[in-house]
Amino acid sequence: MELHVKGELNRHGGFSAAFDLTVPLAGVTAVLGPSGAGKSTLLRCIAGLERDSKVAVRLGDERWQDEHTFLPPHLRPVSMVFQDGRLFPHLTVRQNLMFPLEQRTRSGARLSLDTVIETMALEALIDRRPATLSGGQRQRVALARALLTPARLWLFDEPMSSLDGTARREIGPYLARACRDHRVPVLYVTHALDEVHHLASRILVLNEGRVIANQSIDAVGKLTPVGEHAYGGAVLRGRALGYSSEYDLTELGIGRHRLVITGRIEKDSEVSVLVAARDVSIALQDVANVSIQNRLPASIVSITDEPSGSCLITLDCEGQQLASRITRRSAHQLELAPGRSVVALIKSVALAGAAP
């Protein structure tokens, strides 16, 4: 099943967007881009909340919106979680959760209230009013409420960006669990790639109302960097060699080289890890006396200057691509050039991609 969105949208404030995209709907698609790029607008068009737009929306063969049709938003099989939760202030948590169950406008499978209350751990909050909840709790209720709405597509509009670090850590596992357990495709808008890299199988990057990248996460190393936001990164494939319980680390084999990653991974399983370009530094030879564990020999493929005084260096490591973002000054002082052999120092490595 594919989602097609195509058309222009102009707002009075001067914001305009020209969408033209086709997204295969499976798993989680991360929608990235700086503020004002049109990420939320895209979701609102899909949900039917931008009534005046001339944007055509189609899910597979079903035309939701074009010149001749407009499927009212309450009839579209989408469910949405907003940045600010939007719990109904005059209803208790239970009444908020009951709200989508009481609407009879949509058909389709519904999860049971009890199941959702249990998996989202909401029992203790059930009779409280939204005003008495913390930000993280509110967002958990909002997520649960969205899960109770029959939908074939979930739209998450920066569900964590209004939360502080503690609240993020609190809700993160619930979001991840919802994405993994329910097999409903998700468009997940976020500023931060690290919020979704362990869930997303695809990335859509918007800038100034236009799609500038739309690709599977395997190809993320070729991403265009957007403004000041470091979305560049690369995916390395490797095989788990062994786990050390003492350090809670798993060693991965990347060709002839070794990479360590936090946590336990089943021996011999093939995994993808995401390495953000900003987490990769470059040394001319291997250095022993640093805390950085992951040091991979690589050769420089290309160097691209960027406007903010940085440059993006593409590296080849055993046939796999890796990206590094360093300052132009460093690149100059180290006399980096295509073809040169270097060592990539990788500060952090994260498991990538919910394998479909």
Binding site: P73, H74, S79, F99, Q103, T105, T132
Partner: protein, 223 residues
């Protein structure tokens, strides 16, 4: 004397109650349309609703009197339906009061609806709520203070009505003679002692009602 006051008071309260009930049954819908519509007709409709605020009541009364005549646009069908004339009847008074108090029902609601959090309505929409469900489950309960205030204002304003009643209601005891008219009669007949009582009753009742409205409107955190 007391009997006259009680009868006129009864008519006044009956008129205010019926008028308020009828107005509150459809004003929220008009107000919702005015608050949300982007139609070019909106400004004209809003001006029409506000018209009774600036027009002398005698002007409204005059046109109503003509419309309510047995061969008028409202009076003729009414006659056909009920075999009763509409002018100088309680029903005619109710129609006049509805027009006269309409802005007092609609305007506070428009203001409240315009300032409500439309994001909540979007949230309800993506949860599958139809426009009707959104109105009944969110708009009305979230604006219940404004609804109470609008109803109370209608009630108070109808009690204070004079000009229209004078034009279309006449002065039939127990049918169309309200307190404001009774006071007018008493003064005209130089019955000042009785006029003092009537005026004082109206003054105190109005003050009490308004106090209730403003107490109900004090800001309270939603929790």
């Amino acid at each position: 004397m007391n009997q006259e006051l009680i009868t006129a008071g009864g008519v006044t309260i009956a008129l205010a109650t019926v008028t308020t009930l009828i107005l509150m049954s459809f004003s929220p819908l008009i107000a919702w349309w005015l608050a949300r519509s982007t139609s070019r007709m909106r400004a004209a409709a809003e001006a029409l609703v506000a018209l009774p605020l600036v027009l002398p009541p005698t002007v409204i009364g005059f046109y109503l009197l003509i419309a309510m005549a047995p061969d008028g646009v409202i009076g003729a069908p009414w006659m056909a339906l009920t075999a009763q004339p509409l002018a100088f009847s309680f029903a005619g008074l109710v129609i006049g009061s509805i027009l006269y108090s309409l802005p007092f029902a609609v305007q506070p609601l428009v203001a409240a609806f315009r300032s409500m959090d439309f994001g909540l309505l979007d949230a309800a929409t993506v949860l599958g709520a139809s426009p009707r469900a959104r109105f009944l489950r969110l708009v009305l309960p979230l604006n219940r203070r404004a609804l109470i205030a609008a109803a109370a204002l209608c009630f108070a304003h109808t009690i204070g009505e004079f000009g229209i009643v004078l034009m279309i209601g006449g002065n039939i005891a127990g049918e169309t003679r309200v307190l404001s008219i009774a006071l007018f009669d008493q003064v005209e007949a130089l019955r000042y002692a009785e006029a003092h009582v009537t005026a004082f009753v109206l003054l105190v009742a109005s003050m009490l009602l308004l106090t209730c409205i403003y107490v109900a409107q004090r800001p309270v955190r939603e929790s």
